[in-house]
């Protein structure tokens, strides 16, 4: 072990995060490796190791001959301080080698608030943060993940953006880079060639012109780069790689269990939900394969908990059959199945009985809005009756805690909608009185609200976020309306939602802001301990950027969006139709009931097999 590291570790919290050596971590012989990849997650070990995408791509890259992919996570504040004090550069967990010496530095970016952290990791590696200041073929800085569907605020820093699912395109990119190094291409030549691979977006090959009012006038591709880059997908999940044999951390992480991915995409089409649109089309993994992966993954890892993961697990057609098929194995091996993302409209007694036996703690539903009118606007097709029936079922079955998630600041929201949240909670309470077999145990109903952030590639991408003052007024309104003591109200008062709204639909003018805010100390800004709203405000002021231009402005129908070079498959015309239907309060049926013609089926070259 590195001597500097040995001396630092006793001084920092949770040192096990920084040493690697976990079961199934991949160690290769450097003599047989010609491509070294530092796969960076711009958040802590506990968060990054909980990310399934990271595990999939780690496996995909490491099964390539001559390629060694290693993991890198953001150090916590105390660790960074020690590293900077002792001059120790950022290192990869498997080999301990400095990240700056790697051929490719790849970032998995799931969340806008991770942007400053990316600059910080590059800096800790001793790599120039700006793509323009990196002259050689190595290290190549690439990024992918949901937050990279609009990479424009990061355009100055990232060499190549990988769009969509990385299983295939990552291999293609690595092979091209290998060829370029072997044949001694220039950096420019490599980037131009990379832009020709479907799914790869090279920001430096696009010139953006702006109108005087700051909106985009035109985006012009250069050097043969395509006018539009479409995300990549895995057409058939049964054919794609799944990390059955995966790293088992030696220290506790957030999702410390087997993550079994049942399907990708979502049939629902909630109009605020970016994941629901960008992960289309829906592709199911066969139930037989899921069952086999579950058993094999438990066998290899020794985990006794499995999350049946997807965007909306109760929408998996063979779900009950899968649970039944796994029942004997789970009973014999003390394995619990957990189901996140339940929908209130198809939650059943049948399903409930299959959930973790014995432990009936709490259930979570997300009605998102208090009135039917507003739920119709956002296309969250759950009725009050369905929600109450589901709660009734749960209470009757012995559950005594329900969490209800809502958003404040949704388009067209009125005070009546806000107050209806309190009313709904009271009705849930009433259901408990009716249904609970043992009232002595009491009940806990938790209402949580977050602040709606309009995201690109959604039906609400044209909409402005409500102001901070207005959001706070609505929180107060709801707080005063919740009178029952058994209902706890939690609200997200974090100002991160404002910054998230700015970055999510930002353009290249924000690159300067990101660099400024990072220089002022922004790092792990997804963490409340580190986030400073004032620091962001200062950075906006210094760069002459008005955050409300990005966050609060209602955008006209004909505005060219900064992210329009990128397509996630769903067309802008479809999203506009959804936007108009939202304004009219008209719902759209789910994909299984009726195809809405969103355009994502073009990615598989036929009709979706929902």
């Amino acid at each position: 072990m590195d001597k500097r590291l040995e001396r630092i570790l006793p001084r920092v919290q949770k040192p096990a995060r920084y040493v690697g050596g976990e079961y199934n971590a991949v160690i290769k012989n450097k003599a047989e490796v010609d491509t070294r990849i530092a796969f960076c997650f711009p958040d802590t070990y506990e968060i990054g190791m909980s990310n399934l995408g990271m595990r999939i791509l780690y496996g995909v890259m490491n099964r390539m001959e001559g390629v060694w992919c290693e993991r890198v996570f953001a150090p916590w504040g105390d660790m960074e301080e020690e590293m900077r004090r002792t001059g120790m550069p950022l290192f990869a967990l498997e080999s301990g080698d400095p990240v700056g010496e790697f051929d490719i530095i790849a970032f998995s970016v799931g969340y806008e608030m991770a942007f400053p952290g990316i600059l910080n990791l590059l800096d800790l590696s001793g790599v120039p943060i700006r793509t323009a200041d990196r002259t050689g073929l190595t290290p190549l800085v690439i990024a992918g993940g949901t937050a990279m569907y609009n990479p424009e605020p990061m355009a100055d820093f990232i060499d190549v953006v990988s769009l969509g699912e990385g299983e295939y395109v990552t291999e293609e990119l690595i092979e091209l880079h290998r060829k370029a190094r072997r044949e001694g291409w220039s950096r420019r030549a490599f980037l131009t060639q990379a832009a020709q691979i479907p799914g790869l977006y090279v920001p430096s090959l696009y010139e953006v012109d702006y109108h005087e009012d700051g909106t985009v006038k035109a985006i012009t591709p250069k050097e043969g780069a395509p006018a539009q880059v479409t995300k990549r997908i895995v057409p058939d999940l049964d054919e794609s790689y799944f990390p059955v044999k995966t790293i088992v951390p030696s220290t506790e992480i957030v999702q410390d269990r087997v993550m079994l991915e049942l399907f990708r995409g979502c049939i629902r089409g909630c109009r605020f939900c970016q994941a629901g649109y960008v992960y289309r089309p829906v592709r199911n993994r066969s139930s037989e394969l899921c069952a086999r992966y579950c058993v094999d993954a438990c066998d290899d890892s020794g985990y006794q908990e499995v999350t049946l993961s997807s965007l909306s697990t109760s929408d998996y057609p063979p779900l009950t059959g899968l649970c039944d098929a796994l029942e004997p194995f789970c009973a014999q091996r003390h394995v619990n199945l957990s189901l996140p993302s339940l929908r209130a409209d198809n939650f059943s007694m049948e399903l409930m009985q299959r959930l973790a036996k014995g432990r009936k703690s709490g259930l979570t539903f997300a009605p998102e809005a208090g009135t039917q009118r507003l739920r119709d606007v956002i296309n969250k097709n759950v009725t009050q009756e369905e929600l109450l029936r589901s709660c009734h079922t749960a209470f009757a079955g012995g559950y005594n805690a329900v969490k209800l998630y809502f958003m404040l600041g949704l388009p067209t929201e009125t005070d009546e909608d806000v107050l209806a949240i309190a009313d709904l909670a009271a009705r849930v309470m009433h259901e408990w009185r009716e249904a609970a077999p043992n009232k002595n145990r009491g009940v806990r109903i938790t209402v949580s609200t977050s602040w709606f952030v309009p995201k690109p590639y959604t039906a609400f991408q044209w909409v402005g976020q409500i102001s901070k003052e207005e959001y706070e007024r609505r929180v107060a309104l709801l707080r005063d309306a919740i009178k029952t003591k058994t209902v706890t109200y939690n609200w997200h008062d974090s100002e991160t939602s404002v910054i998230e709204a700015v970055l999510a639909r930002g353009d290249r003018k924000l690159c300067k802001v990101l660099e400024t805010v990072w220089r002022k100390g922004a790092r792990l800004d997804a963490w409340e301990e580190y986030f400073s709203y004032d620091r962001w405000q200062e950075a906006f002021a210094e760069c002459g950027v008005d955050p409300s231009f990005y966050a609060n402005r209602q955008r006209p129908a004909d505005e060219i969006f900064p992210w329009e070079t990128i397509s996630c498959g769903v067309t802008k015309a479809y999203l506009r139709r959804e936007y108009e239907k939202a304004a009219a309060g008209v719902t759209t049926p789910d994909c299984r009931t009726l195809c809405g013609g969103c355009g994502a089926n073009r990615l598989t070259g036929g009709a979706c097999r929902v």
Binding site: A16, G302, G358
Partner: protein, 220 residues
């Protein structure tokens, strides 16, 4: 049902795995080896396994002991090999055998404490250190279970000490009391800082080498 004991190493990267994380790690590796850990009865069954003398985070050891119960009848043969296929780097099971001797017979432990001096070992360090460690009273400050600082005399818990000088380091081979109360050898470095500040090392490394019973023989 069988009661078994593991003898294992915990070194290099694995030295940084905390006690609770180590228990979790072992809980996961047992199913892989085909052994079914016995669970406690009740509403929330938990696996029955315990680490005999948890090693402080950051120290390494080649003589850790873990006691556990399995539902099968076995004398532990072949278990070490099967477990080793699934353990993190730095943890290696050396032996698995029926747990016969009660843990209370474990009386002392031997450790190697390396004091590193970046600008060379100070002149006269050896005689000064050996005199210091023979003192009748060595007071150090220690956090109690209630998180308060308490001053403790560690001299009675230090049974034996041999000193050796190396390149830029001094090595103490100590035998200390293991339990009721036990001495964390790391505290010796704190005593040095207190009584002989000029001999304060730049870094202290601790390695547990052997666990002993009351007669001074290895405890297994």
């Amino acid at each position: 049902m069988s009661k078994l004991r593991l003898l294992f190493t915990k070194e290099a990267q694995a030295s940084y795995i905390s006690h609770l994380d180590l228990l979790r790690t072992f809980q996961r590796v047992f199913p892989r080896s085909g052994l079914e850990i016995r669970h406690s009865q009740g509403y929330h069954p938990h696996p029955i396994l315990s680490i005999v003398l948890p090693l402080p985070v950051g120290q390494s050891s080649c003589c850790e002991l873990l006691d556990f119960e399995v539902t099968q009848e076995t004398d532990g043969q072949g278990v070490a090999q099967r477990l080793n296929e699934g353990l993190p780097a730095g943890i290696r099971v050396l032996a698995c055998y029926p747990a016969v001797r009660p843990v209370r017979e474990l009386a002392a432990l031997q450790a190697e404490v390396t004091l590193e001096y970046d600008s060379g070992v100070p002149a006269g360090a050896l005689p000064e250190l050996s005199a210091l460690l023979r003192q009748e009273e060595l007071l150090v400050e220690k956090r109690t279970k209630h998180k308060e600082l308490a001053t403790v005399n560690i001299a009675p818990m230090l049974c034996d000490c041999r000193i050796e000088e190396g390149e830029g380091e001094v090595r103490l081979f100590v035998t200390v009391q293991a339990q009721n109360p036990g001495l964390n050898p790391q505290l010796l470095s704190q005593a040095i800082e207190r009584y002989a500040p000029r001999l304060s090392p730049d870094f202290t490394r601790v390695r547990r080498c052997e666990v002993l019973d009351g007669t001074g023989r290895p405890f297994r």
